[in-house]
């Protein structure tokens, strides 16, 4: 674990450069460029709000379904996009790995960082929408770095795992997409846990994402802070994911060059 911190620090400039490169390529040749990072959540919001507030209404307390949804949809998108990018990160950089002796952890890291930047940018439209539709702008926004830190650590652990798995079996990238879709519906994103009968709650609580998303929704939508056990659970899950993910990554990184 110390190695992870040390290498991350040592190669911070490389990770940053790779992350920027990824963003640059993602928005290259598009007229609007970085604006897409802002436009995407807005357009998504319009669509989802239309669907879930008029076509197929979901009852939520306090109205403003858009904020209810976006407060957790944005962090979920950060999570799922990071995994999608990271799963391809080792294989996609095969040419580099075969020709330059470079610490392999920079690739999943860069995938994560580029999506983190995207996420932070998407908070701007979230704030704008909050104000625009008259939802209270809660002081608890300042709490956001806490669930974000936990989610980032958790995501990093998961990215390490999927980056390795995809090196050996390219099916993993496809399986991941299915898993992410399932996860989207079993996590309280478009709905709230309150709408689920109490006796099923324990099933939902097996999903680690719930603890991270909880922090985002409470602070942005309700103006509340999560209870201590929920915060604790999120950090325990995050650290466990990171330890296991990095352990697997470390064990296999020397072999990547033979499989990419």
């Amino acid at each position: 674990m110390l190695e992870l911190v040390r290498d991350t620090y040592r190669y911070r400039e490389l990770i940053w450069a790779l992350a920027l490169k990824e963003l640059k390529i993602r928005y290259k040749r598009s007229v609007l460029g970085f604006l897409w990072a802002l436009l995407n959540p807005m357009l998504l919001m319009v669509v989802l709000t239309l669907v879930f507030s008029t076509v197929m209404p979901i009852k939520i307390p306090q109205g403003h379904y858009a904020i209810f949804l976006l407060s957790v949809l944005l962090p979920y998108t950060f999570f799922s996009q990071s995994l999608t990018y990271a799963a391809e990160s080792i294989v996609g950089n095969g040419n580099l790995i075969k020709k330059v002796a470079v610490p392999k952890l920079v690739f999943p890291m860069a995938a994560l960082v580029s999506n983190l930047i995207n996420f932070l940018l998407s908070l701007i439209p979230l704030a704008l929408i909050t104000v625009a539709i008259g939802h209270p702008f809660h002081w608890t926004w300042v709490y956001l770095p806490v669930p974000l830190l936990a989610l980032t650590v958790f995501t990093l652990g998961a990215t390490f795992f999927f980056a390795v798995a995809n090196v050996y079996y390219r099916d993993v990238a496809h399986i991941l997409q299915i898993l992410l879709q399932i996860l989207f519906y079993v996590s309280p994103i478009i709905y709230s846990l309150d709408q689920i009968p109490m006796k099923y709650h324990w099933i939902f609580k097996l999903n680690p994402l719930i603890y991270f998303l909880n922090g985002f929704r409470l602070s942005v939508y309700y103006g509340l802070l999560p209870a201590a056990p929920s915060i604790l659970a999120s950090f325990v899950c995050a650290l466990l994911a990171l330890i296991v993910g990095f352990w697997i990554f470390r064990r296999h990184q020397q072999e990547f060059v033979f499989y990419v």
Binding site: E13, N95, L96, K99, A101, Y169
Partner: protein, 267 residues
């Protein structure tokens, strides 16, 4: 060997690859093979038990036929492969010029690639920015420096790559036949720079198929055959052996073909 001037020490390095015949690329295939119990593979030794050492200021030419293990050996030295057995000891920084455009991204401009390439080799952003001007001057590709490198010719690629790798001032430079694509003038410029390199006590490992370059510039040559180091001597005798081996093989092949022709043409 406790010689302080030795900068590259390759000790009994073996690099084995597992060649899986039609490697199961997907889970479905894996299962299919697992149940039919036919995951077939063979081990292939690209480099077998190679040992040599290089002193500071030496330029070593590595020659051999295609597939003799030259590039694999360079990659093991550069730390890209972890040797299956044996070890490589280096003193100082190493810059690998293994293939054209390694560590470059085609969508980024030349200038951006200078930074990326430097960072990949482990240098800091500050160090690279300080050297940027010199790198651009040496590469001498004019306005193309701010053009995405996917629009470069292979010669321009090579100019940029060479100038980054040498300008970062590594202690050990590893070159894998990339000089072949430069024009004569730039090749001269490159060899001039390599000469300066050696005078300042740097070490160069040089893979080439151009025997005249090896003869002219190297202090020593290594001949590889089927992954084995079969000769380590001054360039001339090594080149002679390599040439006579190639010639023998060529004439054997020609004879064989001649035989076949004569058999066919019999009435």
């Amino acid at each position: 060997m406790k010689d302080s001037s030795i900068v590259v020490s390759v000790e009994n390095v073996t690099q084995r690859f597992r060649v899986i015949h039609e490697r199961p690329d997907s889970v479905r295939e894996l299962f299919a093979r697992f149940f039919r119990n036919q995951i077939s593979y063979s081990d292939f030794e690209a480099v077998s038990n190679v040992s040599f050492s290089v002193r500071a200021g030496e330029m070593i030419g590595i020659i051999g036929r295609n597939g003799s293990g030259k590039s694999t050996l360079l990659k093991a030295i550069a730390g890209i492969y972890k040797p299956t057995a044996g070890r490589v000891k280096l003193r100082g920084t190493i810059a690998p010029l293994i293939e054209l455009g390694a560590g470059m991204h085609s969508e980024l401009t030349g200038r951006e690639n200078i930074l990326l390439n430097g960072l990949l080799m482990g240098y800091s952003k500050q160090q690279m920015l300080r050297r940027e001007q010199k790198i651009i001057e040496f590469a001498d590709i004019g306005d193309f420096i701010d053009v995405p490198i996917k629009q470069y010719s292979s010669g321009m690629y090579m100019r940029l790559a060479f100038s980054v790798a040498t300008e970062v001032d590594p202690d050990i430079l590893v070159i894998d036949e990339i000089l072949a694509v430069g024009d004569t003038a730039f090749q001269q410029k490159c060899f001039e720079r390599l000469r300066q390199f050696r005078y300042s006590g740097k070490t160069i490992l040089f893979v080439s198929h151009t025997m005249s370059q090896v003869a002219e510039h190297c202090d020593r040559a290594l001949l590889l055959e089927n992954g084995r180091l079969i000769l380590d001597d001054l360039p001339e005798p090594v080149i002679d052996v390599y040439r006579s081996k190639s010639a023998a093989e060529l004439s054997a092949a020609t004879e064989k073909r001649a035989d076949m022709v004569s058999v066919d043409s019999e009435p």
